[in-house]
């Protein structure tokens, strides 16, 4: 029990950062390097913090009770999807590092706007965010972040085996060839981008009560780069990569806490060494070298 008290927050943070890593993985499935997640994360958090503290929502809170929280997640998801569409449609014409830079710009613009609005609490941000479902301890958030992670992993595994997942992969492999084979690139790039945005938005909405407060420092350039590191260190070609990378890199500074002044120096060294010596990311260490030959399913011939 002491263990949960002491490390509960960290464990949930690991799940949370794993989810944020995954939010980058979806666009990456379609070959799009987007660093926009912190923007949607911040948006989701603000939505939850505003719905949780703003007087305008008091009647809604009264009448809904704890149901306000799922509603916050829903609103955050929908709002992120809408913003994702608005940003994604023009931005996804860009490729590679240019898309990454455009999404960084998006995150930064959003941050400055949040810093200046009064509904977001300006520089101080919003505080006293109410706790869902009578949660008291931080580890209890495992009851919402945990199921979300499981759901998202199930979703991803199913997605990868579906028609849409194949379309994503074809875009990552060769956008032009995919286009010539009947896969509409823009449609699926935007879809992948929006899935990532919705996930980041929902994680943000769950995180505002988790952190008790929300402010413009939540969605920054630093976070963009951190999430990218999750994906690359964990492994970008398998859904477990970002989860593992996010969890481990979030835990690293805490694991190194006993080193005191040296902890961030070592943290940096670990990043360097990991990027040098784990070319396939962490999951590359576990992956079986070669898949077994595919077996043809026993079905009757489908007449053309």
């Amino acid at each position: 029990m002491d263990f949960l008290q002491n490390y509960g927050f960290l464990i949930v943070t690991m799940i949370q950062q794993g989810l944020l890593g995954l939010s980058l993985y979806f666009p990456l499935m379609a070959g799009q390097l987007s660093l926009a997640s912190p923007g949607f994360y911040a948006l989701g958090g603000y939505i939850a913090a505003i719905m949780g503290t703003n007087a305008a929502f008091a009647p809604l809170r009264e009448s809904l009770g704890s149901w306000i929280f799922p509603l916050e997640w829903l609103v955050a998801g929908v709002a992120s999807a809408a913003l994702g569409l608005i940003v994604g449609v023009p931005a996804l014409r860009l490729r590679g590092i240019y898309l990454a830079l455009a999404t960084i710009a998006f995150v930064e613009i959003l941050r400055v706007v949040a810093l200046n609005l009064s509904v977001t609490g300006g520089a101080v941000g919003l505080f006293g965010v109410p706790q869902p479902f009578g949660f008291v301890d931080r580890w209890q958030y495992v009851w919402i972040f945990g199921p979300l992670l499981v759901l998202v992993l199930l979703f991803t595994a199913r997605l990868e085996r579906s028609r849409v997942g194949r379309a994503f992969r074809s875009l990552r492999e060769d956008e032009l060839a995919a286009d010539a084979m009947g896969v509409p690139p823009t449609r699926y790039k935007v879809m992948a981008f929006v899935i990532g945005a919705v996930l980041a938005g929902i994680v943000g909405a769950m995180s505002a009560p988790f952190l008790n407060t929300w402010n413009a420092r939540q969605g920054t350039f630093d976070a963009s780069i951190a999430y990218l590191a999750y994906v690359l260190i964990g492994g970008s070609r398998n859904m477990w990569g970002p989860v593992l990378g996010g969890a481990l890199l979030a835990a690293l500074p805490e694991v190194l806490r006993p080193l005191q002044d040296w902890r961030l120096i070592i943290n940096g060294l670990v990043l360097v060494v990991a990027s040098l010596y784990l070319p396939q990311g962490l999951v590359g260490l576990f992956r079986r070298r070669r898949a077994a030959p595919l077996a043809r399913p026993a079905t009757q011939e489908v007449a053309k």
């Binding site: 579906s162 028609r163 074809s170 286009d179 896969v183 030959p293």
Partner: protein
């Protein structure tokens, strides 16, 4: 053995009207017009840099034309996005092979069935598309069988030999369920035994899938043997068109080829 001769009464399946593409000052394709009749095997030859691949790119929407029109089954498809044209029924292979190299052969063929399937995001994730998936899978195996690669379905496309990659690309293009198949140098990199088999294979595919075929090829004996009609491009201009024998005798063609040597 021999293909049914194109009946003159039928509408052309493809009609190019003055297709032109300029890159800066260079005219890569200049005012090219031709008809391709249903069921035909239509050859496109010409020296290197004559604009053959550019013409394919114009026809499949990868490069927008500077001017001119392309009609497919009577419908104006000029300027449509590549995936739209592919969906209408124009499948192609690439001169410098563009398979999804990191994906398995089976995946490559499954992906090209995208346009002929419907399952959306939710159906795919929630399992509402099982029957469709089963059909996609089965058809992919059939097509791999057709090109003789079913025993290597699980291997990454990038690991295949040159000739196998060309065959896989054809299987992938067929998976689109096209009405017209555009083959860009299908014999390049194949050994002579493979080349020999290719003629039979293309004819067989045409018959089996009721296709029209357009083929860019350098290997002259193959072209002469395979094609019903041939068009010759030089410096982006169409300099001759007709049945293999007459094209072979055409002085402009001889000059173009000799001049290019």
């Amino acid at each position: 053995m021999s293909a049914p001769a194109p009946s003159p009464a039928r509408e052309p399946v493809l009609r190019a009207e003055g297709l032109t593409r300029r890159f800066g000052g260079l005219v890569a394709v200049g005012d090219v017009s031709f008809d391709v009749m249903p069921g035909e095997i239509f050859g496109l030859i010409g020296p290197n840099g004559a604009g053959k691949t550019t013409l394919f790119n114009l026809m499949t929407g990868l490069t927008p034309p500077s001017s001119g029109r392309l009609r497919f089954e009577g419908r104006d498809v000029t300027g449509l996005a590549p995936h739209r044209i592919a969906t209408l029924g124009l499948g192609r292979t690439f001169q410098n092979i563009r398979l999804f190299r990191g994906l398995s052969a089976l995946e490559n063929v499954k992906i090209a069935q995208h346009a002929r399937t419907r399952a959306g995001l939710l159906a795919g994730v929630l399992g509402g598309a099982r029957e469709e998936e089963r059909q996609v899978e089965a058809r992919a195996w059939d097509l791999l069988d057709l090109v003789g690669l079913a025993n290597r379905a699980g291997e990454d496309a990038g690991n295949f030999s040159y000739g196998d990659q060309r065959r896989l690309e054809i299987a992938r293009a067929l998976a689109l369920d096209p009405k017209v198949l555009l083959l860009d140098e299908p014999a390049a990199g194949m050994n002579s035994a493979e080349k020999h088999g290719l003629t039979e294979f293309i004819r067989d595919v045409r018959a089996r899938f009721d296709l029209t075929v357009m083929v860019i090829e350098h290997h002259v004996p193959l072209v002469m043997n395979l094609c019903d009609r041939i068009a010759v491009l030089n410096f982006g201009q169409l300099i001759a068109m007709g049945d293999p024998a007459s094209v072979q005798r055409d002085p402009k063609v001889i000059e173009a080829y000799l001049g290019a040597e």
